[in-house]
Amino acid sequence: MHELLIKINDAVQKRQQAELVPSIEAAIEAGLNPKAIIDDGLIAAMDVVGSEFSDGIIFVPEMLVSAMLMKQGLKLIKPLIAGGSDEKKGKVLIGTVKGDLHDIGKNIVVMLLEGAGFEVVDLGVDLSVDQVVKKVAELKPQIVGLSALLTTTMPEMQKTIAALTESGFRDQVKVMVGGAPLNQAFADSIGADGYAKDAAEAVSLARRMVSA
């Protein structure tokens, strides 16, 4: 791999803020393919960061800094991709369920999904069942992602899936769920299509869902 791509990758992985922008500018100036800068520099770095997070080597503060750097990098490079239109892997509609304002986990999933090439529509927090149904009707995503951190708000996930069924949209979307108190058994019991224990796993799950 080109030395500058390694530097970009390192800057994101090791959170070297001062290194990122000069390395990207140098890579652009050296005529490196913008797509390679994104794939081998930024996204490959975030894959490592995701694994380190899953393995408990790094924690949320470190993950947030890497994700912030990835976003900065993408902002610099995306305008250089021909026509500005990079092909999306699929559309994900995502949010934290009603009564729950905890959005860090969800935000990290959003960052990694975007980094992995998905079009992500982040509906935010405290999402009512009606909001989800309305947005599914309007935006026609392939995947709906629901997040809850609190054991007190987990029941909202079941209500949301039931509402998708009642409104006739259930068979048009895959529903993935995640959040600290959840597990696969809970996801199965409420009729979700998939459960991810962390952000890196959510990306793998989304990839499987759109390729199925």
Binding site: F59, P61, V65, G99, D103, T152, P181
Partner: protein, 338 residues
């Protein structure tokens, strides 16, 4: 001879005489729909009216059979007093903070009349009411948020943790230092109002931060809090924390309320000789979704492991069946076992 609930719970808190059976007490909320229905007291009123708050807490003792009463159901009382907009929810929803007034990390303006702010006063009045009505009969547990959790409320969790990640130590320390007096004042006020013990929620969990950051940024403040507050404190940290149990034991707090994911045996073996342990029936899969038999088995596992006080791992989902809460008490009534 059967001990009184108060003596049973207080004895367990100090790892004293074991008595007839393990204590069952709740450092966090055990309010569920059935308790609301049976008392005719619901949310949001029980967050805002001291008598309703206290009477609903008493239901946890008289109806569910716990050896304690704990009247604070939200985590937002201090946040409201410090200027956060709070949606106090309804019977199906816990309160939530709607904004983060100090997202810019400017100096926190702590009101001079902090303890007279309605969201704090209501808890203090509820504790005084409980002291009058069940003092000496059930263990009265208060609840206060620590500086780390308050910083989440003031700056926004993601924003605060990003500053931690960026190494903005001075900024982070200044906010924590400014919030610690709020925690200390509220803790002392709850003891003065009549609490026997107070839960300190401070969410420096493995799900969010490293043990290194806990040790560097928060443990020193926990030691100060433990020194400046005379009554016993139960540290409550949600989530998996097995990598920082040793650090918790250095805080000086009397007890630690832990989640199922930590593991009862691991908690007992690691710090059971230094902290009284409250735990750890799983909320999501067992109390909320499981049967009374599932709950009974898990409570017995905690008892057999040597956990001092048996309880749900955290505030329970509001639709938790009451019979599942009662199954914790039933398991304790079987005695200590081996």
């Amino acid at each position: 001879m059967e001990q009184s609930p108060y003596i049973r719970a207080m004895s367990a808190l100090y790892q004293g005489r074991r008595g007839d059976r393990p204590a069952v007490a709740n450092p966090t909320s055990i309010v569920c729909h059935e308790l609301m229905e049976q008392t005719g007291i619901s949310f949001p009123e029980a967050h805002l009216n001291y008598k309703m708050m206290a009477d609903l807490a008493i239901a946890g003792h008289e109806i569910a059979g716990f050896d304690s009463v704990m009247p604070e159901y939200s985590v937002d009382q201090e946040a409201a007093a410090l200027g956060c907009t709070i949606d106090w929810g309804d019977k199906d929803q816990m309160p939530t903070a709607k904004d983060f007034p100090y997202a810019d990390f400017r100096d926190i303006e702590v009101p001079e009349n902090l303890l007279e702010k309605p969201s704090i006063r209501v808890v203090l009045d509820a504790i005084a009411y409980l002291r009058k009505h069940v003092g000496g009969k059930a263990m009265i547990i208060g609840k206060v948020m620590g500086p780390w959790t308050l910083a989440y409320h003031m700056a926004g969790t993601e924003n605060f943790l990003l500053q931690v990640g960026l190494g903005e130590e001075a900024k982070v320390r200044r906010m924590l230092d400014q919030l610690m007096p709020v925690t200390i004042a509220h803790l002392n006020a709850q003891f003065e109002a009549g609490a026997d013990v107070v839960t300190l929620g401070d969410h420096c969990t493995r799900n969010l931060v490293s043990p290194k950051h806990y040790e560097q940024l928060l443990l020193p403040l926990h030691k100060i809090i433990a020194r400046e507050v005379s009554g016993p404190i139960i540290l409550h940290v949600c989530g998996e924390c097995s990598d920082r149990l040793e650090l918790f034991s250095r805080s000086g707090f009397a007890a630690y309320h832990f989640e199922w994911s930590v593991g009862a045996l691991r908690a007992v073996q690691t710090i059971g000789d230094r902290m009284t342990l409250f735990g750890c029936v799983n909320n999501a899969q067992t109390l909320y979704q499981g049967t009374p038999e599932d709950v009974y088995k898990q409570a017995r596992m905690a008892i057999e492991a040597g956990v001092d006080v048996i309880c749900p791992e955290c505030a329970i989902p509001l639709s938790t069946p009451l019979e599942n809460l009662k199954a914790i008490v039933a398991a304790a009534r079987e005695g200590f076992g081996k």
